[in-house]
Symmetry: C2
Subunit: 505 residues, 2 copies
């Protein structure tokens, strides 16, 4: 029986109840710290039951909305269900659920988009308010009453520590072999009591495998058996392959130029089919015994481990396609010594990213000719997902690469624009820009030199003459010639898209 096998502590067994009963413990206006990072390790039953309860209260004419803190994105059973029920008034720090996104962009849900490394320390700082309830998925409870983390760690350590009441979901779907893969570091503190984080290699273990928890705070234990839900794998097309090819060529050149070791430096990689194409391509390079120090473990990293290219990956969560997640669960023994999951305040920690010298590879929505990057906002005003950990890695890595197809929406949008409609990453933090057209190494260039390189190497040929025309007129008419710009038309491409459906005149 599930409860016997996974919940090996009688005190916790006595708290087993239904998701509905657990959800009844949550009241209108509560702040809830949920587990979950990408589609992994989020609670799958209590949020659904809470959404039902919220709908019922709304039907009775009663207000019921909650504030949700998570690790990053979650699954449809959490953000989707609660947003659908109009049950979320406030959300942090990252969201990729389409229903929640629509509510945010309709102005009906407040959303605070945060650097993922900063969520836990800022929660400790206290200005975000009190955390009433933590709802945390785990893979099991030890006889001693410690918690075996699930397929993501995220901010769970912090939610368990600071929440006044705790609801646990024990998910039988998660592999029992997750036990031992986690490294939960309890050495963080607020200043003036912070000390160096004693991690100097991606595979260092500096903590313990389990969460500790005050059993007196645990109000409910709910048994579940439901899969994580991450995006299905989409095979990289020609565009992704081309981008990956440019990056692989560059990394090979840079490793030779800079005398980097054969294991290169720890990789950080955003989510998506372009990063997966880079991972796939790394299998065929001369690099060996590589490491990853990153947010999420993706399909491509498991392939690299099996190919012998990747020695170890450190992250805070899995982000595997459904097929690969099943494959992992069926073959966990083969991977468990090669994978480490840590709290996101450690996986994304600037101190560690800088010390290790991560090679940061992140996707973007648009870049401007001066190398500023917008990773989050469509036309400046609609949020797509959020900044996530890109700022943690891009500013502190040894090398910061940003990549994108050069156009979107069938060519109606140019990813290279005169000026970003919103900036998430300033020019200083964007060292290499890549599209399927080519790669621009922006290191050590002045703004005008960057503009030449970006337009010539990264812009789509259909938009290149328009960018050259802008630059030529800015060179005549701009207020200053350091980074020539024409405020009267710097955002006109976005305006045109909103009016006509295309940035192309």
């Amino acid at each position: 029986m599930l409860q016997q096998a996974r919940i090996r502590n009688s005190d916790f067994r006595s708290k087993i109840m239904s998701a509905e009963d657990a959800a009844a413990l949550i009241s209108d206006g509560s702040t809830i710290g949920m587990s979950g990072f990408t589609g992994s390790g989020y609670p799958k039953a209590v949020p659904l039951a809470l959404a039902d309860r919220i709908r019922a209260e709304h039907a009775r004419g009663n207000p019921f909305r909650v504030k949700i803190w998570t690790g990053a994105s979650t699954g449809p059973e959490l953000d989707g269900a609660l947003a659908e029920a109009d049950g979320i008034e406030f959300r942090l720090p990252y969201n990729s659920d389409p229903v929640a996104r629509q509510r945010i962009n309709d102005g009906r849900m407040d959303y605070v988009d945060m650097h993922l490394s900063q969520v836990a320390p800022m929660a400790w700082q206290g200005f975000l308010g009190r955390l009433d309830t933590a709802v945390i998925e785990i893979a099991g409870i030890t006889p001693e009453g410690d918690l075996i983390p699930s397929s993501s760690v995220g901010n769970n350590k912090t939610w368990l520590d600071i929440a006044e009441r705790i609801i646990l979901e024990v998910n039988d779907w998660q592999s029992p072999l997750l036990d031992g893969m986690h490294d939960i570091y309890y050495g963080t503190a607020l200043p003036p009591n912070r000390v160096p984080i004693p991690l100097i290699r991606p595979d260092d273990r500096i903590g313990q495998p389990h969460f500790r928890v005050d059993p007196a705070k645990v109000a409910a234990v709910v048994a579940t058996d439901a899969p994580d839900r991450n995006a299905p794998f989409s095979p990289p097309g020609a565009t992704a392959e081309a981008i990956a090819g440019h990056i692989l060529e560059f990394l090979t050149w840079e490793a030779r130029r800079a005398g980097l070791p054969p294991s290169l430096l720890p990789l950080q990689s955003g989510v998506g089919n372009v990063p997966n194409a880079v991972m796939a391509g790394l299998i065929d390079t001369p690099f060996e015994q590589m490491t990853a120090f990153t947010e999420v473990i993706q399909d491509g990293m498991l392939d690299m481990i099996e190919a012998g290219t990747l020695r170890v990956a450190s992250a805070t969560a899995f982000s595997l396609s459904p097929e690969k997640a099943q494959y992992f669960n069926d073959n966990a023994a083969r991977f468990r010594d090669r994978l480490i999951l840590r709290p996101q305040e450690i996986s994304n920690n600037p101190e560690l990213v800088r010390r290790l010298g991560c090679i940061a590879m992140n996707c973007l929505i648009e870049a401007d000719i001066y190398g500023n990057v917008n990773s989050t906002r469509i036309m400046g005003s609609r949020v797509q997902n959020g900044i996530g950990g890109s700022g943690d890695f891009a500013r502190n890595g040894y090398l910061s690469i940003f990549m994108t197809p050069s156009t979107a929406k069938g060519g109606a949008i140019s990813a290279i624009v005169p000026q970003c409609s919103h900036v998430d990453h300033i020019g200083q933090d964007v060292q290499v820009l890549v599209t399927e057209q080519g790669l621009a190494d922006l290191r050590g260039l002045s703004p005008r030199q960057k503009a030449e390189a970006i337009v010539a190497r990264c812009a789509h040929p259909a938009y290149r003459p328009m960018l050259e025309d802008y630059m030529a007129r800015a060179a005549r008419l701009s207020h200053g010639q350091y980074a020539p710009s024409l405020p009267s038309e710097a955002l006109s491409w976005h305006q045109r898209f909103m009016e006509t459906g295309s940035m192309m005149p």
Copy 2:
């Protein structure tokens, strides 16, 4: 005799020569690493002699331009003289010289604006090219052949290590009591060999007092006797006093709310009369035994030390008014145990800024209603100085405060605009915004909540109705309601200023 007193090593004494002879060692196209951070510790004779040489070569019709790397800004004898001679083709990482600035904004000098913590590691990475010559001001040479640093450390350790040839200026004006104040840490490395920086308190000394140098690389030693040149002290007016008042009130409230210690947390403070007013005000608060972990030691910090409020200040340079610099030189014994000067890769290190939990206080040019900050560019295209260390501190500090008068140019420019014409600090890194009008605590707010707070509390009343009108129309017409904006007029205030001389219609 000067040479005997300051140059206590015979090998170095044999290399004494005139500034003109030393400048003759530098050739057209060279890359030169100069000492200097703010107006402190920059070489005062060789750059002037080099400027003379460049002018002479130009008069003969010969090309002669060099690439200049520094710590940050320098003095008129360096950037001013060389720019005036049209002798600089490339400059990094920060400049505040008006002549050089004009050349940059005329498009006649390439300028790379860098995070100050990253200059030394990036120079080691090698992509900036080879450093031909270092020209370093020092306060003396020990009998063992080590170098006693001057009134700034900046990137000198790195320039001395990587340059192929070294020219030293020994400046008799600098106080002999500087000897022992510096802490030069030689434990940095490139990844994969980086280790934790063993500093956990602002007053920890983790290095050695002197620079080491390969004597074989030292080609010239030049004797000088010339003062540093920093900006004169300007007494804070009513606006600066009001801004400081808001910040002091907030810090007092925050210390109580968050349970901060009576010594608060280490202060980082930008340069100028507003930060000096904050320092002056801190003398009269209940805070005691405070510390500073910052870039520069300003007038106000010496006052705080004399008042007993400040226990220790760690920085990379002095930035004292001429009167205060003289006062320091006359009373150095009183201060030397309270002041530590470090390389800027340490003074500004993100690992340390985050560990110590600095309270970052920086100035800005403009902020937009969503809390993005432009610290560097006038109307988006003209650079003022550069980002300096503001990004090192703002992203990693415990608290990031940005401050500005609400208007400039007699009211013709609003410091609060619908959208920044350039972004140096994204909303996530701007937690508190202050003008003489008031203070907005932006922590934990969504973009629309930030806009309400910033317009109500920080905008000048003359511009507030215009901002409210923009927000009201954006709330109706924007593509998305997450951060409502109207690209067709988001930069129209800047356009209007360029056309009419005022942002006011």
